[in-house]
């Protein structure tokens, strides 16, 4: 009895302690450590450029669904490009926008940061997952042009959902790529952006402080979400819980620090669903936070080799878990596509068209995330080749044809057919691949789930008895 009480008390104290820690232990503010700094700045955390880019991506996604079948193609493409390439003018924020019960502080880009674009920070290596032998950036331009010509961002013939493709791909080709292949990679070396010098002339933060902050900005977490339950993080991104988002209580959600963007949103979404056995949201946040504390603790000295190797350890945790989140997304949407096909098999007429639209949306997310995975630091090699082959350039469409390439005029070629069940098999294989290669654990929409559940229920050992 006494033990029980003691345990209960300990638990309460622990919860209370962790509660206060969660409140006080956000990402920033962190003090100025730059030696010889004489200005009046007190906080060195700064990643508003990344927030601006997340906003550009979300706005671009909204625009991708605004086509009217060709009539507004020229204007729409120009408008989309102003968000992709950036603009000297102040652009309105198209998304995320205030709604009832969730007021957002900023309404235009310059209120966040000036002179930012997506294209300058976009993966531009080879992108074999997209037809036409394009570079990563050209694939994005191709999608933008196609989206502008489409009807509400959807092309029924090819099954492409442009808004989903562009947005999910950008989450990888910009955010994931910049964080893991730039800020957490080269910029952690001893020579580049050292900690005993300002990041650039005239700023009050050191090279390493800012490099780390930039990566954190790309991750898209709210600065105060430390220790949050994934549901709460999810609700902030979905604009359903202003109370959780509005840290300073000014009645508005500041996109610069209080909102949750794409990459982090997906981590929370996987933590709260599927097998509920993952903790991506907090693992990544803690790694970012611990790394930043380590840099701050160096007090403006250049990092020692051991400090840098510890920092690289945190970076490795970030990279590994971020990749897993993308793999979980591929797993989830391969499962969605699988289920959608089952639904479509029984439908016809309008119901079928509706189901096909949902299928195309899920496929767009699947493809976008698959391309995102291939725009990081590590070369996925044979895994990528196999994944692209299984997924194809496009989904199997209503007449069983699918995009197999692009002709010299830039038109999609659809000269082959595949059966629905064959394509379902491919989806299961993709799921299996995500398990084998990336050890995904959340496993949302697991196509083999029923199999596993029944097998567990039967328990083979029970029948090992012989006579």
């Amino acid at each position: 009895m006494i033990m029980k009480r003691l345990k209960a008390t300990t638990a309460i104290v622990a919860i209370a302690l962790s509660g206060t820690m969660a409140l006080s232990d956000g990402y920033g503010p962190f003090p100025v450590t730059l030696q010889g700094y004489s200005g009046d700045k007190t906080n060195t955390v700064s990643y508003s450029g990344q927030i601006a880019r997340h906003v550009l991506e979300q706005s671009l996604k909204k625009l991708a669904g605004k086509g009217n079948g060709g009539g507004n193609a020229v204007d729409l493409e120009a408008q989309m490009l102003s968000y992709f390439n950036g603009s000297d003018e102040d652009l309105p924020i198209i998304a995320p926008k205030s709604k009832d019960g969730f007021k957002i502080k900023q309404t235009s880009l310059h209120q966040i940061s000036k002179g930012k674009n997506i294209s300058g920070k976009f993966y531009d290596g080879a992108m074999p997952a997209w037809p036409g032998n394009m570079s990563g950036k050209d694939a994005a331009y191709n999608m933008i042009a196609m989206a502008a010509k489409s009807n509400k961002g959807f092309d029924a013939d090819t099954g492409y959902d442009w808004a989903q493709l562009i947005s999910k791909y950008t989450m990888g080709a910009m955010a994931y790529n910049q964080a893991v292949d730039n800020y957490l990679d080269e910029k952690l070396s001893a020579e580049k952006k050292p900690n005993n010098k300002p990041y650039k002339d005239g700023v009050h933060y050191t090279g390493k402080e800012h490099s780390w902050d930039e990566a954190f900005g790309y991750w898209g977490a709210a600065a105060h979400q430390h220790g949050f339950n994934p549901n709460k993080v999810y609700e902030i991104a979905k604009m359903k819980n202003q109370g959780a988002a509005d840290k300073n209580g000014d009645g508005m959600v500041d996109l610069k620090s209080e909102y949750v963007f794409g990459p982090c949103y997906y981590a929370a979404a996987f933590d709260r669903s599927g097998t509920k056995s993952t903790n991506y949201t907090n693992t990544l946040f803690d790694a970012f936070l611990d790394g930043r504390k380590l840099i701050t603790a160096a007090a403006g000295d250049a990092l020692s080799d051991s400090e840098r190797s510890q920092l690289k350890g945190y970076a490795a945790t970030i990279e590994e878990n971020w990749e897993k989140v993308l793999a979980e997304a591929v797993f989830k949407y391969a499962g969605s596509v699988y289920k959608d096909i089952n639904k479509m098999k029984d439908l016809s007429g309008d119901d079928l068209n509706k189901a096909y639209r949902a299928y195309a949306k899920h496929w767009g997310e699947l493809k976008g995330f698959a391309m995102a995975m291939q725009s990081g630091k590590s070369n996925l090699g044979a895994t990528a080749t196999k994944m692209n082959e299984l997924m194809g350039f496009g989904p199997v469409t209503l007449n069983n044809s699918y995009v197999t390439g692009m002709d010299s005029n830039g038109n999609f070629v659809m000269d082959r057919k595949r059966s629905w069940s064959d394509y379902q098999l491919h989806m299961l294989k993709i799921q299996q691949m995500m398990v084998d290669q990336f050890s995904v654990k959340a496993r949302v929409n697991d196509g083999l789930n029923d199999l596993q559940a029944l097998t567990d229920k039967l328990d083979s050992a029970s029948s090992a008895e012989t006579d």
Binding site: S421, S460, S462, S463, T466
Partner: protein, 342 residues
Amino acid sequence: MDDINLIDFFLSDFINPKKRVFSGYLILSIVLAALWLLFIKQQSFRGALKKIFDKKILWSGSAKADYKLFLVNRIFTFFISPLLISQVAISTAIYLFLHSVDIFNQNLFANTPTSVIITLFTITLFVVDDFTKYIVHRWMHKIPLLWAIHKVHHSAKTMTPITVYRVHPLEGVLFSLRSVFAQGLVIPSFLFFFGNAVDLYTIVGVNILVFFFHATGSNLRHSHIDIAYWKWLEHILISPSQHQVHHSIADAHYDKNFGAALAIWDWVFGSLHLSENKGDVVFGLDTYESGKEGKIKDLYLDPIYEIARIIKIFAVRIVSQALNRLLLIKNLFLAQIKKNRS
């Protein structure tokens, strides 16, 4: 591992309703045996008790060996079972295969009422499982290499419910694989054609049919209580007495009644033998020297030696046949040369 875990580790089968020796089934078996002896065999209450808890049987050398094997095999299972292929692996492979065959239409029967799907699945699983038990058991008797292993089980001279564990670890492996294969085949096929409504009717977490098999005295198969069924029923279900016939050393009982729960397979494949009611049958192996049935070391190692012997004989035969052929070719060759010269 502390004390509690050790007890749990060794005796968990007695509290697991998926196992034949679950204490509930054992108690039911005692009740059944008592009813049989009292009302059918017209024995006195004392007589019945004495027969059920016969010290000479429960503590015979053979039975003591059963108990030791039960404990030692537990350790073997613990180390071996993780190495075996899992049902999930087989199920997944078959499930993927079904997708790749275009003429197979997924969810073809998904509109079948759920209760029908569950009933079908429950029965199919039981029947397929039982049939593979029959087949593998038959092989254990007919194939010398496997008989070397299965002999361990048949060396029992007295039988108690624990005799079901009197098996060589290699037999345990074979039977586990059989189970993995049977279920790995049925589960994905049902899921593919019937969709995710597939489920099992269970009682205390056990397939309802398996539950009835155990609750109606499956433990008495390995006992001296010779409960027999009506003749017509013994064509469908194997009675305890029929399984005792399977363990008998009498010539007339040789290679009979391989079935586990269902007698149908024996009936169809000509190995059925009905119970006889001729008094106690003698269990064991007539080829076994007396006293050996209680020696643990021999029970584990003899099968290995015998397998080695069989393989050696086989290898020698192959090699000598090959040599003979070479010799023949050589002689023909020489004869040809001679002929050419002359």
